[in-house]
């Protein structure tokens, strides 16, 4: 009796645990922070009531957005509360005035005044102090950024005490900097000016406004509270095409700033009191309140970083993070471009990952002396394009390859892979023998299966799985015979591509590196081609076997960019395959072409390619995504032409940017619900699933 009662108690407790876990999973779909904190902090051995209270508090904290998992670092906390806007795409969120309406305003004024920094000119950083990292690097001074910021603050304090205004020049700041670093002032100042000049780029929106004002014959002036010398500012403007300013008013020259409210009356006095003035700038006080007080018509151009940063990933390294946020904000919030959600997904979320991955591959290639890069279809499509953009002088190959093709080609070697992919993983779909053989393209096996008691309409189940495998094992020669022509054709293609090449690397997205492993076995072992195959994947995380490529990772035959058992293991743990993180990352590398199925021999001995069902509904979206990725890389590369090391994005940074978006299912539901997903790749099913149905199904598991 007692044992029955204990059993019942255990059953009830297990029921509670199940329900609690289900509740957590449901909540976790939309609140990452709750899941992370709950699983991170709550031991399953803790009493249920304690876990319940913790969960309740976490939910309340997430709701208010004010409390965080107590072990999270400040930047990480920001990532938990920051989200991408869902009402519109980011480039449509700000609703800046259109050129036509701005032109009407310009028409009614005689003098058009522009703020310079963050209005006419953009830095490729979200924080202007990030420039000091580059200056410090040139001067070989660690902690230069901190010293430089402190020196400026102190110089301003001194100026305020001396003159009543806190306007300083670069020389004042560097004199103060001597307290921290005894560097050559002239040289250091020259380096800072040169660095600023190399980074400043025209804001495309304001450039158009400037041109409009110019074509209307208006008087143009520029006004700034900047400490840089006048000649540097003039040069920065001129090298970005702003050559027609009548006057440039700088606070350091005039002695008073915009913010103090004294610069605008001075401008009016200089340019003519009776004229009508329009001022465009990004600061609510210095560029709206103050000019209005002086009788200017203000037109606030909200700072792009102020608008964009609440939607950007924060938990990144200081320099690359600032550059990433700056470049994305500059494009999406400048007002010059109105993009589609797919473009923005590529630009803001996938661009850094693809660029970082390509640069990392390039470094590995040089280090290992790899002669040829093979980008495996379909993920390799955009990677190859990005690689070509970054390193146009290098020759690369696009190899039609897929899990399905690799499974068949290596069926004789990786038998279990074959059984898993074509039989075991299809059990949940409830397919029949006929459908299974159709996918395998082995209709001749039906006779043997029927003889073993599995007629064509038998449904695949867990129970009959091993028996079916036994039939295949008994007639394995038939399988090899059926796949032999495909093998011959594939060999021809690879022999052609690897002719005279001693080492090649296959590039894939991840996760078990099955494509790379199959290629290596085929080339090195089964066909014995004189070429060593290496593999690069962006992440190694295989649901069924976490140690699947342990040894190749150790030998260096396969390397992973973002995470693996060896690198960034914390990231690997947080990469939730069940929440479709891998699917969302694969979406970033999608290609507007169908999945490759198999190489075939033609009648005249040539090679033909066979493809799976084309998901044509999504091709336009994919093209947009690819365009976004390539545009980001071009923008980033252009911004840091003189600083190639800025392109070395760590795998952790790349993953954080990806994770920021892939952990927001609401974003995908809002913008990608109709995106076609073919989860039955290799079976040629013309019925497409959409991302929203896939999400519904996977999240309910």
């Amino acid at each position: 009796m007692l044992s029955r009662l204990l059993q019942l108690r255990r059953k009830i407790r297990a029921g509670y645990h199940r329900r609690m876990d289900r509740l957590v999973r449901r909540l976790s779909m939309s609140r990452r922070m709750v899941t992370d904190a709950y699983y991170g902090e709550c031991d399953r051995q803790l009493p249920l009531w304690r876990r319940g209270i913790t969960l309740l508090l976490l939910c309340a904290a997430a709701k208010t957005g004010r409390a965080f998992s107590h072990r999270a670092q400040p930047q990480e906390r920001l990532d938990y509360t920051r989200k991408t806007p869902l009402a519109h795409t980011e480039s449509h969120t700000l609703r800046r005035p259109g050129y036509a309406s701005l032109a009407k305003q310009i028409l009614l004024h005689d003098v058009i005044s522009f703020d310079i920094f963050d209005t006419l000119l953009f830095r490729p950083f979200d924080d202007p102090t990030a420039v000091f990292y580059l200056v410090g690097e040139k001067l070989h001074v660690p902690s230069f950024t901190r010293y430089r910021v402190l020196a400026e603050k102190q110089a301003r304090q001194k100026a305020k005490e001396r003159t009543g205004y806190n306007e300083v020049t670069l020389s004042d700041i560097y004199t103060q900097l001597q307290r921290y670093v005894a560097c050559d002032i002239e040289k250091a100042m020259a380096i800072e000016c040169e660095t600023e000049l190399s980074l400043l780029k025209a804001n495309p929106y304001m450039k158009q406004v400037y041109r409009m004002a110019l074509e209307m014959g208006k008087t143009l002036i520029a006004v700034s509270d900047m400490y840089l010398p006048e000649d540097v500012i003039v040069k920065a403007l001129e090298q970005n095409g702003y050559t027609q300013f009548t006057r440039i008013f700088l606070s350091q020259v005039c002695g008073f700033s915009k913010r103090s409210g004294k610069l605008f009356p001075f401008v009016k006095q200089e340019m003519g009191e009776d004229k009508r003035y329009l001022h465009l700038g990004d600061n609510p006080i210095a560029d709206r309140v103050r000019p209005r007080q002086a009788g200017f018509t203000p037109c606030l151009y909200l700072n792009v970083n102020r608008a964009g940063n609440p939607h950007r990933c924060a938990d990144l390294t200081a320099l690359v993070g600032s550059a990433y946020r700056g470049i994305v904000n500059n494009r999406l919030y400048s007002g010059a471009y109105h993009e589609t959600p797919f473009f923005e997904y590529g630009y803001a979320h996938a661009g850094l990952y693809v660029m970082g991955y390509c640069v990392w591959i390039h470094e590995r290639v040089k280090e290992k002396g790899i002669e040829k890069l093979l980008f495996l279809s379909r993920d390799g499509d955009i990677l190859q394009k990005a690689y070509a953009l970054l390193y146009p002088e290098e020759q690369t190959e696009y190899l039609y390859w897929s899990r399905s093709a690799a499974t068949r080609l290596t069926a004789g070697y990786f038998r279990n892979e074959f059984f898993l992919r074509y039989i075991k993983y299809k059990i949940s779909r409830g397919i029949t023998m006929a459908q299974m053989l159709d996918a395998m393209e082995l209709p001749s096996m039906q006779v043997f299966l029927s003889n073993a008691g599995f007629p064509p309409d038998t449904v695949l189940t867990k129970e009959n799985y091993e028996d079916i495998v036994a039939v295949f094992m008994a007639h394995w020669d038939k399988v090899e015979e059926a796949y032999a022509p495909g093998q011959r054709a594939a060999r021809k293609v690879l022999e052609d591509k690897l002719r005279g090449v001693k080492s090649a690397a296959a590039v894939d997205v991840g996760w078990a590196a099955s494509g790379v492993s199959a290629l290596k076995v085929l080339v090195e072992d089964l066909w014995g081609l004189p070429c060593q195959i290496y593999g690069f994947v962006s992440g190694a995380n295989y649901l069924h076997d976490q140690q699947v490529i342990e040894a190749p990772l150790l030998t260096g035959d396969i390397e992973s960019y973002m995470f693996s058992q060896r690198n960034n293991r914390a990231l690997r743990r947080r990469h939730r395959v069940g929440q479709l993180y891998s699917v969302f990352i694969e979406m970033m590398l999608a290609s507007p072409s169908p999945s490759f199925l198999q190489y075939e021999e033609t009648e005249n001995g040539g090679v033909a390619l066979r493809f799976d069902c084309p998901e044509t509904e999504g091709y336009e979206s994919i093209r947009q995504m690819q365009k976004g990725i390539l545009t980001f890389i071009a923008d980033y590369q252009k911004a840091f032409t003189q600083y190639p090391y800025m392109l070395r994005v760590s795998g952790e940074d790349a993953y954080h940017v990806c994770r920021f978006i892939i952990s927001q299912p609401g974003y995908f539901r809002r913008f990608f619900s109709d995106y076609p997903v073919n989860r039955a790749v290799g079976t040629f099913s013309h019925k497409m699933e959409t991302l929203s149905t896939l999400m519904d199904r996977e999240y309910q598991r």
């Binding site: 259109g98 701005l102 169908p594 084309p614 040629f684």
Partner: protein
């Protein structure tokens, strides 16, 4: 006399009427609307000219804003009309302007000021909206579609003088639609009136519009009149720039280009948008004054879709203007050019299209193809047919059926929205006769497709390797037919097409099964 004018052209009409028809000493008031920003910007200059005794700037944009607000709130048109008239009455009272018993000339009468005049049944002289527009109500309405209340009241109040309050209609008699003979029409040709003005008075008019210099024309100069498409909300400004650069590259003959922006095209920055040096004339003056500020004659005066080009026959040897279809199909100009090059290479004398025959003909002419293009919705009457994106209602099934029923020598597909429009899933036999011609325009790739069973035509498509220069756009169009040598491309294409066919056939068989099942159930 009280004049009401909205746009720069309207102001010009009022100025000419004042100078040509009224005695010098007569009092005249010009009422300007602030809807048109140029009126606000140039008010001082207008006042200083002394042509009118008084110039009043009416804040009519507030009334329009109210109308738009009420429209958004889905208020009945009658209510909006009455509210706007009340507001207009208040505005006029503020300006101490009484219309009762005054001689009124309205240009135009379909804005709140006109509504007010109609509501109070004041008699007025109605000036036409643009040259020849008085009789072209369809044109007027097409321009008005974005403003629902205005479009509804246009018919209800009988705007453009189609009501009993309009005692006189002032319009260019020579440019009206054939058969238009309203007895109230008085000839009011801006071109003729300008020509008839004494030199001193003409200078006064030029000064009124800020024309200070005379422009000398180089031989074979081409004039392009732009429109304020971005301002009208028809396309974003970068698209407007792209439109005009492509227009100049593919629809205008070579020669020094002079651009006259529409007076409302204040956002256009053509110096920067064009990659070649172009001369941009002041936007603020009406184009009708062009003959008096240029020395020489244009070889061609062109506009995409505008009436102003009609008045330039005396300053240009030839004029060119298309209809509103160009606003939709301008994006396909590179495809049109590619098709023209193919037509030229194939040497076809005639072709029929369901697209814009005017644009295609002009492109063909400039690309050196001597093909005569005609339009037929059903694409009948020629051996060569050109399918365009203008006809979006034709399904692939209909296209395939057409190709089966009418075995034409060659079909050219310029579509972008339906790239494989010739293939309905069943006519796989068409594949060997399909020849795509990829177009590389900068970093953008497009494609046109030629379908023909004639070997020579297929070879022509395969071997088409040409470059079309777009100097104004700063790009080139590279046509590269897929030659047989490019085995890899063909292999991939064949594989993709086979997979596409299989998918389509699966859908078709599923559809058939469903139809059969529902048929059986119905029985």
């Amino acid at each position: 006399m009280i004049y009401y004018a909205l746009t720069t052209y309207h102001v010009l009409c009022c100025v000419l009427h004042r100078l040509s028809f009224l005695p010098k000493e007569e009092e005249s008031v010009l009422v300007l609307s602030d809807i048109h920003r140029n009126s606000v910007a140039f008010l001082n200059r207008y006042r200083e000219s002394g042509i009118f005794s008084r110039i009043v700037l009416l804040p009519e944009s507030d009334v329009m804003a109210t109308a738009k607000y009420l429209e958004r709130k889905k208020m009945p048109t009658g209510f909006i009309y009455k509210k706007c008239c009340r507001d207009m009455g208040a505005l006029l009272k503020n300006e101490r302007l009484s219309l009762a018993g005054q001689d009124l000339a309205l240009c135009p009468d379909h804005f709140p000021f006109g509504w007010y005049v109609r509501r109070h049944r004041y008699p007025y002289h109605c000036m036409e909206e643009g040259c020849g527009v008085l009789s072209d109500r369809a044109f007027a309405l097409s321009n008005m579609q974005r403003n629902k209340t205005q479009a509804k009241l246009f018919t209800r109040l009988g705007c453009f003088g189609d009501n009993d309050c309009a005692i006189e209609l002032l319009g260019d008699r020579d440019h009206q639609q054939p058969g238009y003979n309203d007895p109230r029409l008085t000839d009011f040709s801006v071109a003729k009136l300008l020509k008839a003005l004494p030199a001193g008075t003409l200078q006064k008019v030029l000064a009124f519009f800020g024309v200070e210099e005379t422009f000398s024309l180089a031989p074979h100069s081409v004039l392009l009149l732009t429109q304020h498409l971005a301002n009208l909300g028809l396309m974003p400004l970068p698209d407007q720039h792209r439109f005009y650069t492509l227009f100049a590259d593919l629809l205008l003959p070579k020669g020094p280009l002079m651009i006259k922006p529409h007076p409302d095209d204040i956002a256009g920055t053509y110096h920067a948008a064009f990659h070649t040096p172009v001369q941009v004339l002041p936007f603020a003056m009406p184009s009708e004054l062009l003959p008096y500020c240029v020395k020489g004659t244009f070889s061609l005066a062109a506009a995409a879709y505008s009436t102003s080009v009609r008045t330039l026959s005396n300053v240009a040897q030839d004029t060119l203007c298309f209809d509103d279809r160009i606003l939709k199909n301008w994006r396909y100009l590179p495809q049109y050019a590619a098709a023209a090059r193919f037509l030229k290479a194939a040497g076809f004398p005639r072709a029929v299209t369901d697209g814009d025959e005017g644009v295609l003909s002009q492109v063909c002419r400039l690309q050196g193809a001597s093909t005569t293009i005609t339009r037929d919705e059903n694409l009948l009457g020629a051996d060569v047919v050109i399918f365009s994106d203008l006809n979006e209602s034709r399904t692939p099934k209909q296209t395939a059926a057409f190709l089966r029923q009418h075995p034409v020598r060659c079909a050219i597909f310029l579509q972008e929205t339906e790239q494989h429009a010739y293939f309905d899933g069943e006519n796989r036999d068409i594949f060997p006769y399909v020849r795509p011609i990829p177009l590389q325009i900068g970093d953008e790739q497009k494609v046109i497709t030629v379908v023909s069973k004639e070997d020579i035509l297929m070879k022509t498509a395969e071997n088409l390797n040409e470059t079309i220069e777009l100097p104004h756009t700063g790009l080139t169009i590279d046509l590269q037919g897929i030659a047989r040598a490019e085995r890899d491309k063909i292999r991939v294409l064949e594989g993709v097409l086979a997979a596409t066919e299989k998918r389509l056939n699966d859908y078709i068989s599923e559809d058939k099964a469903r139809t059969a099942e529902s048929g059986a159930q119905a029985k």
